[in-house]
Amino acid sequence: MSSIKCECGHLNPEGTDICQNCGRPLSTEEKSKKLADMRYDGAAIRSKTHKRTVVDKIWNFFSSVKIGVSIIIAILVASAIGTILPQVFYIPGGGANEAQTARYYEDNYGIFGQIYNALGLSDLYGSWWFMTLVGMLGISLVVVSLDRGIPLYKSLKNQRIDRHPSFLKRQRLYGEGQVDDPDAVMKKAAEKLKSQRYNIREKNGAMLAEKGRWARWGPYVNHLGLILFLFGVMLRALPGFYVDESMWIREGETLAVKGAPGLYLENKGFTFDVYTQENTDEVFSEAIDRVGSVASNYQTDVALYETPEGELPGSTNADLVKEYSIVVNKPLKHEGFHIFQMDFKLDELSAMTFALENKETGESLGELTVNLDDPQKEYDLGNGAKVELLDYYPDFSGFEDGEPQTATPVPNNPAFLFKMITPEAPDGETSFVAIRQTLEPLGENTYKLAFQKADTRDVSGLTIRKDKTIPVIVLGGVIFMIGVVQGSYFNHRRFWIRKSDDGKIQVAGHTSKNWVALQRELDAVTEYAGLPAYTDQRDKEEQTDKPEGDSNS
């Protein structure tokens, strides 16, 4: 690699804008500027110096801020498009069934919905191209941090105290002038700057006052945080790092917790409460009048059991771990598992009671109760009356080829095929009983099963989550916040003061941001020490717009 020799004799790597030793401008571009480009203190960055191999080209692609911003904008626009219609995971069925999903978008959003779904925009955030964009952003973050961060670090670490006069002259804040006693002025300036908590270094009649250099690392720290965050998200794809299940559990039921082997959950009761005029404070009465009922609580009281260590899988021997009331915002937590209150169904049928009645006289031979969780084959009513349950359809959905069908195993619309054995009809009469519907498929019956009552219970919808990536994600978030605060709320400020033998003093100032505050500090030093007056070399009313693309980064 070739290098550039500065007038001062220092050898700078190719691509350096400002001599890393004395501060003279080196590149022709830099020489043509009135003010020094202080972005990386003029240091050479890798992407400017290595341009030959394929690796260099890829590196340079990802290190470009232009590309980085383009990726950010692409993700931004894609994200916005994804909010136009609900994503598949928010529609009924959750997008599990492709045909059903397609129908949903077509039925609800017409031709636009059809196109939206066909283009894959209905599952945009899970699409390969969206993930590729996020991945590219991650690569860009790594590359850009190394590309700029390292040269900047070296440059600031090794900066020389006595920079060349031309370097000072090319700073935005600059002043020069004759003073009576340069040494006294320098001494007082140092005193004042020290009281402003500047770190002062002096050499050969030149002074460098610096503070807050660490603020310059802020962007690199926050990029590191983001990289960690994205890494944490990627970890989820590995088996065992992420559990996401949901289950329905009825009141009174004990079920194995999905995705959590060895854990059992008993639903001891579900509560659904609403705010009413009676149970709430008077201040809410107007709102309750206007809106009607407002939900106040969804709660599942549960008991959690765990099979002891060393027990065989499938063993029913389990110890009580704890009893807990799961409400929204307060999940049950155990061994990294979180169990959330997510959904509920009120009043699901649990049992139905019928009376065996003579159709003509209305006389009853007795009652039977069918427990829908555990339907019996036969119900003996005594005195020679007996009901056989030939078949049970929990979610009756109609007949197909004369056969009754059930849509789901959930008792939403139970139907039964009974055989009634009575003293009058000892061979039995067949009756098909559904809600508000009775069929007698094998001819006229003398008896019927008259519906008496139904027992119901509530069902809780719970979600089970375990996310081992959380610590990585939290760490990433914390580091990001530290970096962004470091870079945003603190400034790197520097003053260079230099005296020459003829009693002339030069003063120059630079800050990473917040020039007004820098000027205020310099004003105080100027007044106290009698420094020559300075000016802001960037004309106050100058249009600061540069034509697009002129600063290549």
Binding site: R39, V65, K66, V69, I72, I73, I75, L76, S79, A80, G82, T83, I84, Q87, F89, Y90, N108, G110, Y125, D244, Y275, T280, D281, V283, F284, E286, A287, I288, R290, V294, A295, S296, Y298, V327, V328, N329, K330, P331, H338, M342, I470, I473, G477, F480, M481, V484, S488, Y489, K513, W515, V516, D536, R538, K540, E541, Q543, T544, K546, S551, S553
Partner: protein
């Protein structure tokens, strides 16, 4: 006087104080040759004192309402928007003390006033919290996010002043047209306020039965003449206007009606202003901005993004993720409101990179700041009211 009444009166006091503050800041800017003159200081000081009084009254509203309801008053559209207005004024006060420029106050206060007016169009009664909101994260997440947005909004205020000063109003240009469009959208909000208050004063009400998107019967009450009817509507109130068109079930025809009425009223208002003054609105406001120091406005715009961005990240993304993890079982779920918070964040990240690395300062920066504010407002208004999601509480 009970707490609720007290709270309402304090809010009204704040509203009046902001109006007076605007006039005083206007005096400060008008009566001065440049940003640092003496009369500017006198009027400016009066302006900031009145603004601070207004802000304290506003804070008083916030605290008393909190005491009355038992939860932070940020749980619905009225409460959130009012709190956002308060924080915007707070941010303007902060920047007054950082840079001693009355101009930021002069432009931030009217925007805060419009925001308060907009908030007042939503139901103001104190509502009990639904289960999803019963968490201390409501207080932490919402207030921090709103504070971040309010500080970021200051960059748009500074950007607006920059643009008003630097865009040539005498020549036709894209910039002039866009700036005028921005002014027009503010007038549209005023149109919304005028039309809502108008029909409310007239006591207009029209009820309809309709079939919602799940196929269930439902009832809706319009407070403006129905331009658009809900899906398979049938009128229940005698003698009211019949809808001009029926909408499919996925479109909320009531919201669309309100939106259309606001556009009609806002556009009429806009043309009335143009007709009476014979000037563009941007041109009318420009004299207030010409004394601005462009460099200072650029600096304020950048600084407010620097201060606001970390606060926004913390409130709208990090605290949001923590709460989502507690309430919805996942820290990120691509809910529209979440996505728009991410979009806002990405946008300001792009702003910072363009500024730092590609030298987008001055005019370009000012435009970006205005667009950022538009995104924040879109997230507040459209995402809550139009795009259905988990955050639709209003």
């Amino acid at each position: 006087m009970n707490l609720v009444d007290l709270s309402g009166n304090l809010l009204f006091t704040a509203f009046i104080a902001y109006l007076v503050g605007t006039i005083l800041f206007g005096g400060a800017v008008k009566g001065s040759k440049n940003e640092a003159s003496a009369s500017n200081k006198r009027w400016g000081r009066l302006g900031i004192i009145v603004t601070i009084i207004g802000f304290l009254a506003h804070l008083g509203y916030f605290i008393t309402r909190w005491m009355a309801s038992g939860h932070a008053p940020v749980s619905n559209m009225f409460e959130f928007t009012t709190a956002f207005g308060m924080l915007l004024v707070g941010a303007a006060i902060l920047f007054y003390f950082l840079y001693q420029s009355p101009l930021v106050g002069l432009f931030a206060l009217p925007i805060a006033i419009v925001i308060l007016g907009y908030a007042a169009m939503f139901p103001r009664d104190i509502q009990p919290l639904i289960p999803a909101l019963q968490s201390y994260w409501l207080t932490i997440h919402v207030i921090t996010a709103a504070l971040g947005e309010a500080i970021l909004a200051i960059s748009a205020v500074a950007g607006l002043i920059y643009l008003l000063k630097n865009i040539d109003m005498t020549k036709k240009s894209k910039e002039r047209a866009w700036l005028e469009f921005f002014m027009y959208t503010i007038v549209l909000v005023l149109g919304f306020i005028v039309i809502t208050v108008g029909f409310r004063a007239a006591g207009y009400e029209a009820a309809f039965d309709y079939v919602d998107k799940n196929g269930a019967q439902a009832e809706v009450v319009y407070h403006m003449p129905a331009l658009f009817g809900m899906n398979e509507y049938s009128p229940k109130t005698e003698g009211t206007m019949q809808p001009l068109a029926e909408m499919p079930a996925i479109i909320n025809a009531k919201t669309l009606t309100t939106f259309t009425w606001s556009i009609i009223a806002g556009t009429i208002l806009y043309f009335l202003i143009r007709l009476i003054t014979r000037r563009r609105i941007a041109e009318l406001v420009k004299p207030l901005a010409v004394k601005a120091n462009s460099q200072l406005m650029d600096e304020i715009g950048y600084r407010s993004v620097l201060i606001g961005f970390p606060v926004f990240t913390l409130g709208a993304l990090i605290f949001a993720m923590i709460w989502a993890h507690e309430a919805w079982s996942r820290f990120w779920g691509w809910d529209p409101k979440e996505v728009w918070a991410l979009i806002t964040w990405l946008f300001y990240a792009a702003y910072l990179h363009l500024r730092l690395s590609r030298g987008w300062e001055g005019r370009k920066s000012a435009w970006l700041a205005v667009v950022g504010f538009a995104i924040i407002m879109f997230n507040l208004v459209a995402v809550n009211l139009v795009i259905a999601g988990l955050h639709s509480y209003a």
